[in-house]
């Protein structure tokens, strides 16, 4: 069965002009911040690229887990697996340059290898429930803010609130679980080749399992377009410039107006994550948000006390910022919102969307609180603790992923009831 599609209307020029104006503004911000710190424009560019790819491929970690339960669809989950496979190979090469002799207990700098323990399970389950409730994870919330989803702003506020709550209870988790948990980095035990082989095999195994699930649900037999493809009015190829122009226009339409297959998004995000690790560190989102959450709680007169051990942990742990406002991570997170806004405007998809029921606002905010809390004690969100953790060759990414699955299953049941 295929879906017939009507020829799409032309993108409103006003939207295209606005997108170009925002893109020019983004360029200006990049140039302006270059004067403050050489690294700011680089992280800004990474953020813009991540946001652009997320928006164009409608990448959604929440749907990846939820749709398994809802209708056995594994398209997005497979795209995540593919992205992590690409990143795993790149991360392994990088780490082998940083720590030439694994097995001596040295961890590569910036790798998202987090202590194992109950905090990881509780954090993952809470995050899984939260992303199902809010209808998007933290990265999803950021890029939907750029697309004009009002509910995502409520989710964002919830995430900050949850991160601050977790800061207040951080020492409880640190004392009882995080400080005593072993940080297992696979190359320590298996060497680089062994660790990469086990990681890729693990990803392949999950791929096969969800593929089987999909086949059993009858979902795989359905062919449907990712999004409405462009009007297939391919210009008559008259050779010469006309052909080039026609094909370029076609390519432009496919990149800037039509949605991309989610698998393309996953692979690109995986490649970009390797580049970012080359530049500085693996991709993460919540560490910077926690800095702002703690700032806001402090301003409101409810400052969390000192966070035991948080500064010795890698990845996206709670960060207490100094007085500085701008950081490279802020450029990355803000860039994701701006990149998505540019992509949405160019595609003619930017549109202010307001949830139709009051219940949805609460759902988004409540889901956000659960995500913020879970990300804080698990060392990151679906990006930092999963998409960057499994390629970092840590065992924590796998445990967080399983916990996410459990949480998303429970969250999906809850979401059905709230229809």
């Amino acid at each position: 069965m295929t879906t017939a599609v009507q020829p799409a209307r032309r993108v409103l020029p006003a939207s295209a002009i606005a997108g170009t104006a925002v893109a020019a503004g983004a360029l200006g911000i990049g140039l302006y911040t270059a004067g403050m710190n050489r690294e700011f424009p680089l992280f800004w560019a990474f953020g813009l690229a991540f946001g652009f790819i997320l928006q164009r491929s409608r990448f959604c970690f929440a749907s990846a887990f939820r749709d398994l339960f809802l209708f056995g669809s594994s398209r997005t989950l497979k795209a995540i697996l593919a992205g992590m496979a690409v990143a795993s190979a790149g991360f392994t090469l990088l780490q082998s340059k940083m720590v030439t002799m694994p097995g001596l207990g040295m961890l590569p700098p910036e790798a998202h290898v987090f202590p194992l323990g109950l905090h990881l399970v509780v954090g993952g389950v809470a995050f899984g429930v939260g992303m199902a409730l809010a209808g998007g994870c933290v990265s999803g919330t950021l890029y939907r803010m750029g697309e004009g989803y009002a509910g995502s702003y409520a989710a964002f506020a919830g995430i900050l609130a949850g991160l601050g709550l977790a800061a207040h209870t951080w020492n409880f988790w640190w004392d009882r679980s995080i400080s005593s948990g072993p940080a297992v980095w696979l190359p320590d035990r298996l060497g680089y080749a062994g660790a990469l082989a086990v990681t890729l095999l693990g990803l392949a195994l999950v791929w096969l399992v969800v593929e089987a699930l999909e086949a059993r649900s009858g979902f795989a037999a359905l062919a449907f377009p990712n999004v409405p493809p462009a009007a297939t009015a391919s210009p008559a190829l008259q050779g010469g410039w006309d052909a080039v122009r026609g094909r370029t226009a076609e390519l432009g339409r496919r990149i800037f107006r039509d949605g991309w297959p989610v698998l393309v998004g996953g692979l690109l995000l995986g490649v970009l994550n390797v580049y970012l690790y080359v530049a500085h560190m693996p991709w993460g989102v919540t560490g910077e948000l926690s800095r702002w959450a703690i700032k806001l709680y402090t301003l409101a007169g409810w400052a969390p006390g000192p966070l035991a051990g948080a500064d010795q942990l890698p990845g996206c742990t709670l960060t207490v910022g100094g007085s500085r406002l701008i950081s490279h991570s802020l450029m990355l997170d803000a860039g994701m919102i701006a990149g998505s806004l540019i992509a949405a405007l160019w595609a003619g998809e930017f549109h202010w969307r307001v949830p139709p029921h009051r219940r949805r606002w609460l759902q988004s905010a409540g889901g956000g609180v659960l995500m913020g809390y879970g990300a804080a004690i698990a060392g990151g969100c679906t990006i930092g603790a999963l998409f960057s953790a499994i390629p970092s060759l840590g065992l924590n990414g796998w445990i967080f992923g399983l916990a996410l699955l459990v949480g998303a299953g429970a969250g999906t049941r809850l979401v059905r009831r709230l229809a």
Partner: protein, 75 residues
């Protein structure tokens, strides 16, 4: 029948579309008005499994109409 689910995000556009199908009169189409791009995948996928066909029409910036119908032709 027109079903306006603008402002709703996943999974609600799909859940509400599926829920509306039994309320259709024989031969009637279901027109789902949505501003959530992922619904352009989930609605065709899920209703397809129930034996329906779909057609997508852009309505405006970030707004689409997903027409769910049975049989060879939609009216």
């Amino acid at each position: 029948m027109l079903l306006d689910v603008r402002g709703e995000i996943c999974p609600y556009p799909m859940l509400k579309a599926v829920e509306a199908l039994p309320r259709l009169k024989p031969g009637e189409d279901l027109e789902v008005l949505t501003d959530h791009a992922p619904a352009l995948q989930t609605i065709p996928a899920y209703t397809g499994r129930l034996g329906y066909q779909t057609r997508i029409e852009p309505v405006g910036p970030g707004v689409w109409k997903v027409i769910v119908f049975k049989g060879a032709q939609a009216s």
